[in-house]
């Protein structure tokens, strides 16, 4: 098997060690970083397909995203050195009062795999921390997660904090999580809603293009 075939299979299998080794071997054999990326994307598409077919569930998605991330970490500096455009920066976190981070971790890993630079603030993040971090790190995107109906209102508080700080127009804000709907996202003034981790990556790409 070629290094890229091994890498593809390792991502699908969720084996981050093999994915990292295959990436190093490929680079040593003069495979370009772009070729590695062009291998990772269809591998994650296959993972997404298996998720849609109920072959894979959240744990398998997490492991595959981790394998993809292990490969991306090796090639990202090479891409930067080659003068590739730096990817957009995302600040992500679970909103204040909500300690659930499984969904947020999955979206963070998928965004990293999708080429974004991800600043993960963790769970139970106060609105001011989102605002301060986004401003200090010059992030283009902010991604908010919530699992509970009782904490999803912190999403609105967070968006309002960006408005109060006068930097609402400097960032695009996307929201997601079990109780969140498109309608709710619109009602609180978010720029977009992602129904799944895969949809979040597509949405993030769309938002940074705007």
């Amino acid at each position: 098997m070629s290094d890229l075939e091994t890498l593809r299979q390792a991502v699908i299998d969720g084996d981050w060690k093999t994915a990292a080794n295959a990436t190093r071997n490929a680079i040593a054999a003069a495979v370009t970083p772009m070729a590695v990326i062009n291998c990772l994307m269809p591998a994650m598409d296959e993972v997404g397909r298996r998720f849609d077919c109920e072959e894979y569930f959240v744990p398998e998605m997490l492991l595959s995203a981790r394998a993809m991330k292990a490969s991306m970490e090796i090639i990202r500096p090479l891409l930067a050195a080659a003068g590739a455009a730096p990817s957009a920066r995302v600040v992500i976190g679970t909103v204040k009062g909500d300690l659930h981070d499984i969904g947020k971790n999955l979206v963070a890993a998928m965004l990293e795999g999708g080429g974004f630079e991800v600043i993960d603030l963790g769970a139970d993040v106060a609105p001011e921390r989102f605002v301060e971090t986004a401003a200090a790190r010059n992030a283009q995107l902010v991604a908010l997660s919530a699992l509970l109906t009782v904490t999803m209102t912190s999403m609105k508080t967070t968006i309002d904090a960006f408005r109060a700080a006068g930097i609402r127009d400097k960032v695009k804000i996307m929201v997601g999580g079990a109780p969140v709907t498109e309608q709710y996202a619109q009602s609180i003034g978010a720029d977009g809603y992602g129904e799944s981790a895969g949809a979040a990556v597509t949405l993030a790409r769309k938002l940074v293009m705007q």
Binding site: E54, K96, H100, D101, I102, T149, V150, T151, P179, Y184
Partner: protein, 290 residues
Amino acid sequence: MTTLSQWLAHGPLVSDGAWGTELQKQGLPPGTPPDLWNLAHPERVEAVARAYVEAGCQVLLTNTFRANSIAMDGDLAAINRAGVAISKRAAAASTSGQVLVFASIGPLGKLLSAGEIEPDAAQAAFAAQAAALEAGGADALLIETVSDPVEARLAVAAARSTGLPVIVSFAFDSGRNRDRTMTGATPEAAAAAMLEAGADAIGANCGIGIEQAIPLCRRFRAACALPIWIKPNAGLPRMVGSTAHYDVAPEAFAAHWSALVEAGAGFIGGCCGTTPDFTRALVRARCASS
């Protein structure tokens, strides 16, 4: 374990409804872990427990869902013991017969099957919580809203070491038909794993509406002979301003009582979106059918 079947000897039992939203009505700020109130505002937690007892529930849970060392910080042993004590006080005030106190153990919030936490740490967290709940005097331990059979096995092992009856209730909210847990387990797989682990009852809560609970219940019954615990949501929430509204009315919810009993349910209550009015409706449905 004969205790559960003794409790169920006179027919299915009504368990309580949601606590988090009721505690918010008592002034719990959104984002504050409700379990902290067992020490900070025990009288307000007891008001919620009493409301369910007054509504006629026969099984009352405890405000201890998150009180494990992975999910939150604090004096967890005291929080767990106080949680049981509060529910026992409310249960003792019942004027309509015995109310059992089943102590709530929620998931850790970290996925074992994705390597986010080590099995030893998970089992230790469950063991500490189970021991505190048993010391508080719970009648049984309820491991609820779990998704991962691997995590549930560790929880059952920890809970069984107390000698109390152990009920395990999974959240089915994933897959096209919403009949898988987040980690992909089917009712059949969950039942097989829990039989092997030595659980005394199995069930489903949260995740689903009450209509979807009926086929889940049938599938559990086909897969095992354990008593079945059912505690569905009052449908899906709809946000109006900053509060979640559930559109299913108590009577419409309780109208599914007979179908659930026929499908094999032994314990029926409500999860997110339900209130003491739902408990009253379930009690009426139970009386009407017996």
